[in-house]
Symmetry: C2
Subunit: 367 residues, 2 copies
């Protein structure tokens, strides 16, 4: 098929350009790739011929010769139906990574690893000479496996200690959220956690418990899937069991949107009767009604930084970097001062967000 491949595509190769320009392939390569190394007259001639022939260098051949593909892999160990379409978080990850790639010739490839084929897929991926991999949601075992084979990898969720990662301090973030509700005078602050087993969910639950303990309040917890239904059902159940609840912290905006629906459907008002704070600041937060006060995760920023670190390296970066989390005030739990509450505007993440003074500082750590 070698022959066939060439014939069927019929695209001009570097040797065609060389022949037409009366130079060698080596010279064409130099003209195209390097600033120096060829005389001006030849440069212009080669460029002219290449343009005339419509020559496009083959990314594949180039990759084979240089030993580097211009791709960054985004990996999730989950069946694709569960995340990309269902959770706004991953769109933000991709958008952040792409923004760092703008103007580069590097591409983004996305991989959904089903459990049964995950290990083999990880091995195959690590064998590709890629720029690196972004682990958007990969189990610690598989993250370690990839790291051992390839190194060039950064996780965007809490992971095994050996694997480089960009993280947020979930515990501190939830403390800020609960402290905000407490400052509003709420004393029956419930929490809806994500599924146990998910490391982020676990950290956020720990944050809630520590905050509740700190304020001497009763723990009122429920658990649900990281989706609207999870939040909706958990909130309804919580209110049924504990009608005295006057505030809720919900571990993700998608769940929080569902919780708000359950609360208002039950005849209570948000935020007057029950104040709600979400987590993420995703699209779900601004689509909810009322719009959600939430902890903003700098997901795009993290993905962009991770991408840049993979591409260019970063002497400042050790194995861990923590990002600050902002409390974004909207109507589901507006600030104490009524003056700050612009009922009906609904959002404007820029204008009404405030960087919490108690957010953990961005810090580095190297094991």
């Amino acid at each position: 098929m070698n022959q066939a491949a060439r014939v069927q595509r019929g695209k001009p190769t570097i040797r065609d350009v060389a022949r037409a320009a009366g130079v060698s392939a080596a010279t064409v390569s130099r003209v195209i790739n390097h600033e120096a190394g060829a005389s001006p007259s030849i440069r212009t001639r080669v460029h002219a011929v290449a343009a005339e022939l419509g020559y496009q260098p083959s990314a594949i051949a180039r990759a084979l010769a240089t030993g580097r593909t211009r791709t960054i892999e985004v990996i999730v160990t989950e069946s694709c139906t569960g995340w990309l379409g269902a959770h706004p978080h991953y769109g933000r990850v991709l958008a952040g990574a792409m923004s760092a790639l703008e103007g580069t010739d590097t591409q983004l490839r996305i991989h959904s690893l089903t459990p049964d084929r995950a290990a083999a897929a990880i091995d195959a991926l690590a064998a590709d000479a890629t720029v690196g991999a972004l682990l958007a949601n990969v189990t610690p075992e598989l993250a370690t496996r990839y790291y051992l084979r390839c190194r060039r990898v950064i996780s965007l969720v809490p992971t095994a200690p050996a694997v480089p990662a960009l993280e947020v301090d979930n515990v501190a973030a939830v403390r800020i959220a609960v402290a905000h509700l407490h400052r509003l005078g709420r004393r029956r602050i419930a929490a809806i956690h994500g599924p146990v087993g998910n490391s982020c969910a676990a950290q956020r639950r720990d944050g809630y418990r520590s905050a509740i303990a700190h304020f001497g309040l009763p723990e009122l917890s429920a658990e649900g899937g990281f989706n609207r239904e999870g939040g909706h059902d958990a909130a309804r159940e919580l209110l049924r069991r504990h009608p005295e609840i006057d505030a809720m912290f919900v571990a993700c905006d998608l769940m929080a949107a569902g919780a708000v629906q359950a609360i208002t459907a039950g005849g209570r008002r948000v935020p007057e009767d029950v104040a709600v704070v979400g987590f993420d600041d995703s699209i779900a937060a601004i689509c909810a009604n009322p719009p959600l006060t939430t902890m903003r995760l700098p997901v795009e920023q993290m993905a962009a930084d991770a991408t840049r670190i993979l591409m260019d390296g970063d002497p400042e970066f050790g194995f861990r970097r923590f990002y600050p989390v902002d409390l974004v005030l909207r109507e589901s739990a507006p600030d104490f001062s009524p003056a700050r509450l612009s009922r009906g505007a609904g959002s404007g993440a820029e204008s009404d967000s405030q960087r919490s003074a108690t957010a953990p500082p961005s810090r580095e750590s190297t094991p």
Copy 2:
């Protein structure tokens, strides 16, 4: 760097395996790639050696030799910040495409083409020997350009006549939406359109106008960006100018979520005072409060079908295929019969959706 590339990576090649197994590279290749063409004893030996050495075939070298990369390109002519993170639609496209790729060794690559570099990028992409390209949101000019260079491409939005596309009949879909509001007894049905210039937005506007004319109702239109703010501001303005409005059709769920916020913030109830029908059935529809009645677009299905057509071909497929659109009933505009309205449940797209009898049939066309 040829030398360097090999040394630095130090991964076993097919020749290493061949040497260790005492056979030729050709034989190893045959064992790995084809069912027949090698004796059983050699097969097992080669597999054993490959496993022992941790041999992983190089996708790049393979692509160069065969003339085919195992990638499908997803292309949008827009800066990435504007779509991936901001609009749930694109996550659904990716999820649909990925689901068709599950179990395959084909990958998804995503490309955000900024206007200034779009033409050059299209040329470079078309030169790659990919399986094909999914045009998620590409201008007709660039779509045509790609098609002329590469053929293997399918658009997921209305595009130039020469380019293959999977589409929904937006006009018919909006007629269904407006007819539903009319059936509920609403006679002041306003519309919030997407930005003019967008072909989908234009088609949906046409659908609204034709439906309104059909029922002999007054046209009450506003326009906004395809985002929450666009819907919110347009709805507020519409209600200010036309307080008599008792229903709204909104061209996308994200906008509709904003519209619902504006309506309730203005002191009116949804759906009692103003019924709302959105478009897409994206996450925004189920996060809104109340959840949105909306026109469900089979986006995942379309993306999956397009992917399969690119991979395997489809003798049934000509140049155009139209997909049916479903009316999904939720609380923002529940069905006429009160019995169908389960206040508080909020959704369950599966259970309470109904395939509209007036939806256009799926049809094929070849120019």
